[in-house]
Symmetry: C2
Subunit: 106 residues, 2 copies
């Protein structure tokens, strides 16, 4: 397996491996929002929100646009949500499997 590919893939997953960033993705699902709208909704410090948005943008998951003093972000890759849904499926199956193991041990 190509080490460069492993590096890229793992970096993408690492960016998604943070609940605040996933929350940001879901929050932007229905369209663009500026940082000044996102920050109060997230109940996080503005600097925290800004940094997370930049990480998502650098990974190519978000697009952005500057309008006056405001900066708007939106989802660049709708397929990210396929990724999240697939993750849910896998987690669901893993939970079921674990439940079966526990039940089988009784």
């Amino acid at each position: 397996m190509d080490p460069k590919k492993l590096e890229l893939e793992s970096k993408l997953f690492a960016v998604l491996g943070q609940p605040t960033r996933l929350k940001l993705l879901y929050m932007l699902r229905d369209g663009e929002k500026c940082v000044c709208e996102i920050t109060p909704a997230m109940k996080e410090d503005q600097s925290v929100v800004s940094r997370h948005l930049i990480k998502l943008r650098d990974m190519g998951l978000l697009e952005w646009r500057k309008e006056g003093v405001s900066v708007y972000y939106w989802i660049a890759e709708q397929r990210v949500f396929r990724l999240l849904e697939l993750a849910d499926d896998i987690l669901r199956e893993a939970a079921l499997k674990q439940a079966r193991e526990v039940a089988g041990a009784l």
Copy 2:
């Protein structure tokens, strides 16, 4: 969005956000292997390999089996590879988009 769900999803992605662990998944793609086979192939310390395997197992991505002193691991969820392929697609598209932006700036 349910915080519990965000937590679970992000934990799954965090586990995948490490190149050594992705390499382990690819290595196990064609069937089970014991730690004693995996360790030399990975060129990593045995303790490192063991810990990564356990993290993948705890997330429900690997199954395991003990045979004598050996421990065998295998892929529990083939859908993980769908996840990896989707990640590749997204990364490819992001790279193309970035290339277009760079070209457009000239």
